[in-house]
């Protein structure tokens, strides 16, 4: 993976994003993006999980509270989960996370759920680039520097 846009912007902000990638689709998609030499920012720290349904809200919240500026959850497209229905459950858990963040006014835009298949290397690169751009516009996660978490 190249690091073209992990560069700091004028205020010195370098977005850092945690990406949860399901082993069977999205991780392979990310791998393909790499072997195809697509431009994927190093600002994302990928974490491989066996299925998107493994990503419970507490994992996402922990990442945010430990200073990630954004959290990306990816999985197989609906209907294609290796474990059949995991991603439908993942979507519900994600919707709950989104709701908690929204209700508490905590920038739900910092979390994103995207479906990326094993053959979608270019889509993976696009999703990551787009998300990091959005995070760059949002600026640093205030949780990163808050003292009273």
């Amino acid at each position: 993976m190249t690091s073209s846009d992990a560069k700091a912007d004028s205020q010195g902000f370098r977005p850092r994003v945690v990406g949860f990638l399901c082993n069977w689709c999205s991780y392979a998609g990310a791998d393909l993006a790499g072997t195809s030499r697509l431009d994927v920012p190093a600002a994302i720290s990928p974490i491989r999980v066996m299925c998107s349904s493994r990503v419970d809200p507490v994992l996402i919240m922990t990442a945010l509270m430990r200073g990630a500026d954004g959290v990306l959850v990816t999985g197989c497209h609906p209907g294609d989960c290796h474990y059949d229905k995991g991603n439908y459950f993942a979507r519900r858990r994600f919707a709950l996370t989104d709701q908690i963040l929204t209700s508490l006014g905590l920038e739900p835009e910092r979390v994103r759920l995207s479906w990326v298949s094993a053959s979608e290397g270019p889509r993976y690169a696009e999703v990551v680039n787009e998300f990091i751009e959005e995070i760059r516009e949002l600026g640093p996660n205030p949780m990163r520097t808050n003292r009273s978490l």
């Binding site: 419970d56 809200p57 507490v58 919240m61 922990t62 509270m65 430990r66 200073g67 609906p78 229905k85 439908y88 459950f89 979507r91 519900r92 858990r93 994600f94 919707a95 709950l96 996370t97 989104d98 709701q99 908690i100 929204t102 209700s103 508490l104 006014g105 905590l106 994103r112 759920l113 995207s114 479906w115 205030p142 949780m143 990163r144 520097t145 808050n146 003292r147 009273s148 978490l149």
Partner: protein
């Protein structure tokens, strides 16, 4: 709100007030074999609190306070402890408030209670007195509560009660309607098979229309919905955003009492008390490094938000957490706000039906497209 049996109930005499009428009904039910024992709130011998008590000897019923002034141990917890090892066919009538009964139904979906031989009896709730106020001055607490029960003015009851739109919900197998029912009477409303069975064993026939009670209830609940909305809007203003939220939770001392008393938080080992969340001191130092300092113990916000993610869809807004908080954090109001939003989004109402699946163990193929891309 459930409609009861064909919109009919039994109008019972209550010359000495609803508490006495419920005691009388329980005594009769026990005599006629409708139940082997009764789980009901009772004043503790020292006179300064109330607890759910399992009553075997009906003589003891004289001391029962079915509509107690405080909510101490959440009734659903009492029922769980009772049936944890199986019920062995002992029939128990359990008296509690609607929010407690709703928690029982949620716990049934979580396989924590066995309801086969339990008949739940609920009543219109006038609210409860904040637990710490009551502990400070039980006499005053009794007085304030008696007034609320007589007038249905809930302004001295807990904030969570003032905003409760389900305080008149007929949740139990038997529900006692008090509001809008003529003075000196209570309306016994049976629900489902168990309710009808109990009524039959009591030798009663549902023949009195529940319309008047229902109208009065609906009206009162509509008013409470208004209060709820205002409370939520105020809270949204105060708690919205990281700094507002942290201010609201600022006094939290990480005691986790709120979790321990919550009926829905039944886990033997809470994730947020587990070694899983412990880090090495150098990890903490790393975190402190980013902002110059770190509140210790850390992860206060993670505990509250994580707990929300575990249980808020089943939160019944009973307020037990807030009553148990030693530092006055409005934790039930905060949970209730998020619960309201989340339950609306998932079109789920905890305690509505024990057949309904909890939202996170089911799904539709096409839904929540707004969160995926």
């Amino acid at each position: 709100m459930k409609e009861g049996y064909k919109g009919l109930g039994v109008l019972m005499d209550a010359p000495d007030g609803p508490n006495a009428a419920i005691r009388e009904m329980l005594r009769k039910g026990h005599e006629r074999g409708a139940c082997d024992a009764i789980l009901v709130p009772m004043k503790v011998p020292s006179g300064d609190s109330y607890m759910h008590v399992l009553v075997d000897d009906v003589e003891m019923l004289d001391r029962a306070a079915p509509i107690s002034p405080v909510l101490t141990v959440q009734g659903a917890r009492a029922v769980t402890s009772l049936t944890r090892r199986g019920d062995e066919g002992v029939c128990i009538a359990a008296v509690m408030r609607p929010c407690e009964a709703e928690a029982v139904i949620e716990l049934r979906k979580l396989f924590q209670v066995d309801l086969e031989h339990i008949t739940i009896i609920t009543m219109d709730s006038p609210g409860t007195v904040p637990l710490q106020d009551f502990a400070r001055d039980p006499e005053e607490g009794e007085r304030v509560f008696a007034e609320a029960l007589a007038t249905w003015d809930d302004s001295a009851m807990r904030p969570i009660c003032q905003t409760c739109e389900k305080s008149n919900s007929a949740v139990g197998d038997l529900h006692l309607g008090l509001r809008g029912v003529q003075t000196g009477k209570v309306l016994l409303i049976p629900q489902g098979e168990k309710g009808l069975e109990a009524i039959a064993k009591l030798g009663l026939t549902p023949d009195h229309p529940i319309d008047e009670w229902k109208q009065a209830s609906d009206k009162a609940m509509a008013r409470k919905r208004g209060t709820r909305k205002a409370n939520h809007e105020d809270l949204r203003k105060r708690a919205s955003g990281l700094s507002g939220l942290l201010d609201l939770l600022g006094a939290c001392i990480n005691c986790h009492n709120c979790m321990r008393v919550c009926p829905i938080c039944y886990c033997k080992q809470c994730k947020f008390d587990s070694p899983e969340l412990r880090n090495t001191s150098s990890d903490y130092l790393d975190r402190a490094d980013r902002s110059g300092s770190l509140r210790m113990p850390s992860d206060m916000l993670l505990f509250h938000m994580g707990r929300m993610s575990h249980m808020v869809l089943s939160c019944v807004s009973c307020g037990a957490c807030e009553d148990a908080c030693p530092t006055g954090v409005p934790v039930a109001q905060l949970f209730s706000l998020v619960a309201h939003d989340a339950q609306e989004r998932f079109e789920y109402m905890p305690g509505r039906s024990s057949e309904e699946k909890r939202p996170l163990v089911t799904f539709e193929f096409e839904e929540f497209s707004e969160v995926e891309d």
